[in-house]
Subunit: 395 residues, 2 copies
């Protein structure tokens, strides 16, 4: 009986442990499976042979872990070298691992792809599956990704509350949202709108070039019209040449070559200072939502939770089917009348490394808003939001 | 039949509309009351005669508004002058207002106190009541204040998620929490701890002098012990001379003379840079929770919601009783075995302007943590937190 090995990688999400539970519960129910190992901190845990016996975890604990945000096995941001792969195969062989699951985003898919290709070249008997996860929603092949719906729900709730706050005290409020290359998460701020005049009034996405001059003009226009302005800005906004605006203030890159954008309020503060200087408006504030977007407990989308678990189970089923040397799971939307999805097997190379952006039909022509098509797309992923009611006659 | 006038002032909270509903529902049920007016944006709305007829709001809408965060009548930060008071009395007389309710923190209590004193001096027939509200929990006379439990619940949830995030990816994480002079909200981060090793590992409050040198040493010690470090820092931390650390990076004051601390990530970023420079640790991040702490929908504490409403109702009952020329409501804890409170009338002057800090018995001797006494104090105010479970054997 061969072993299952599962690990998590990249930025955590609120539902990444649902995918872990999906793999583990499916593996436990399959008589072909022997040991079920969890590697701590992704491939670091394989290389260092730091494993947890996931057969020993009680069903109750597993359910509680599934409901807990952030990667329960720990995470890592590391791209394996050829030497790493050789060492990984040595460990997997010794542990009798045949089925390897790596839960993460496009960098994690790249890791799985590298391991899978090296395994094939080396003639290793390993089936390597990537289980999708990213709050950025930027994996290719998928309609959307596990983790997005919950992070989007956090962002929508945050803007709902913050727009009410801004209604009460006025001025200009800038909120910086995660999303390195794709604006999906920033776009979810639009779901907060319920009543006429509700913010966010401006939404800046990485998919459209950001001009500070245009930005200041947009803010002035909204303040003139609404008497206040709430703004959603992606941390990944870039100028017409593709240079990150944030990189003017922040300097740090990870081992995949990604600029470190989160965990700093510099972009928001710089934009707030710009608005103060150029408009003379006194009350200008900026918040950067930061890591709460991917880890806040208790706000996960029920649909996202279900799909994250189903994606894990689908990866297991595909891996043990004997039909695939490796692959990833893509969530596709079925039909148009009622929300429904399928979990399809796609090649690792198709989701590795490269990402996707917001399609043009989701972005308003003015370049600082989303379309109804986006709202219709995102609403079922995020689920019902909390009550938001204004007193009659309040502007 | 005399009129009731109600308004909201200062920073919004998640339950400030529960207090509004408490006043309005009690007033509606009382046959001595004629019109029930809501002034928009606090005393600005009285001076500008911008009123809403709160009798016309349906019970269903009022309940939805009560459940909605942030001041539904709008807010203001303004201290009335003698001229303002004269103009206010002119408006109140013309509108037949006898009972005036001002929902807010200590600055709002000061406003209510100024109006009350001027009314008495001018022989106006006005009963002026302050309804307590502040996420800072720093009103004198009260065991705790409406708004605190919900903001504390947000902070506890945020640290629960962020500590899990830090467990997954390691390094040092600094989270800056609201609280100008009092550390109650920052202290609530400690409620996030469930398992041994859980963060926050360090908690810095305004009640103890902050030394950057000592801070760096504390962080190094925790990283040595835990391999990582999660830190709660109050925006109001100050050096031994009482100078705000944040004021080295932020320069802005409001009309009550308070330094503007929120709506900027500067303090967190500065502390993160300090840790990076002095320790050589590469992964150091800072988030500033900002306005989400007081406005995020869907995370309010049920106890806080109930008490905020009861405080509004208690203010109304006291105002119409004929026993008081004015006053404020203080929440006091009754008994010790089981959590229960009373709503007592206290003089406006007792809660106006001055604030209270964390008592010494809530602060650990090492100066960077809270005591079990604080946990016991805060737990019933915050209520049950979401599930947090770790896999067995995870460090």
């Amino acid at each position: 009986m061969k072993a299952v090995l599962v690990a998590q990688s990249g930025g955590p999400s609120m539902v990444i442990n649902q995918s872990l539970a999906g793999v583990v519960l499916a593996a436990r129910a399959d008589k072909r499976v022997g040991p079920i190992l969890g590697a701590l901190h992704g491939i670091d845990g394989i290389l260092g042979e730091r494993f947890i016996d996931l057969r020993k975890v009680t069903p109750a604990t597993l359910e509680n872990v599934a409901a807990t945000p952030s990667s329960a096995l720990g995470s890592v941001r590391r791209k394996p070298t050829a030497d790493d792969c050789a060492r990984i195969f040595e460990v997997l062989r010794r542990r009798g691992v045949k089925w390897f699951f790596y839960i993460g985003g496009n960098d994690s898919a790249e890791t799985a792809s590298i391991i899978s290709e090296h395994a094939r070249a080396a003639g290793e008997d390993i089936v390597c599956f990537h289980v999708p996860k990213t709050i950025d929603n930027d994996l290719r092949e998928s309609d959307h990704t596990p983790g997005y719906g919950s992070a989007a729900r956090f962002v929508a709730c945050a803007f709902m509350g913050d727009d009410l706050d801004n209604r009460a005290l006025g001025g200009v409020k800038i909120d910086v949202v995660m999303g390195r290359h794709a604006g999906f998460l920033t776009a979810a701020s639009a779901l907060a709108r319920v009543a006429p005049g509700d913010g966010p009034h401006l939404i800046y996405l990485p998919e459209r070039p950001f001009s500070p001059t245009r930005f200041v003009k947009d803010v002035k226009d909204v303040v003139k019209r609404e008497g206040r302005c709430v703004i959603a800005v992606s941390e990944g906004i870039a100028d017409a040449k593709g240079n990150l605006i944030a990189s003017r203030f922040i300097h740090e890159v990870d081992s995949h070559g990604n600029a470190q954008l989160s965990g700093s309020g510099a972009l928001g503060d710089a934009l707030a200072n710009l608005v103060k200087e150029k408009t003379g408006i006194r009350r200008v504030r900026a918040d950067t939502f930061g890591y709460l977007q991917r880890s806040f407990p208790g706000v996960a989308s029920a649909t996202d939770q279900d799909e994250a678990r189903a994606a894990g189970a689908a990866a297991f089923a595909a891996a043990v089917s004997g039909k695939h040397a490796g692959g990833s799971i893509a969530i596709r939307r079925k039909g148009t009348r009622r929300y429904a999805v399928s979990y399809d097997v796609v090649p690792l190379a198709a989701v590795a490394k490269e990402t996707r952006s917001m399609p043009d039909e989701f972005i308003a022509d003015n370049g600082h808003d989303v379309t109804q098509a986006f709202i219709d797309y995102a609403r079922p992923l995020v689920g019902q939001l909390p009550v938001k009611a204004l007193l009659p006659g309040i502007i």
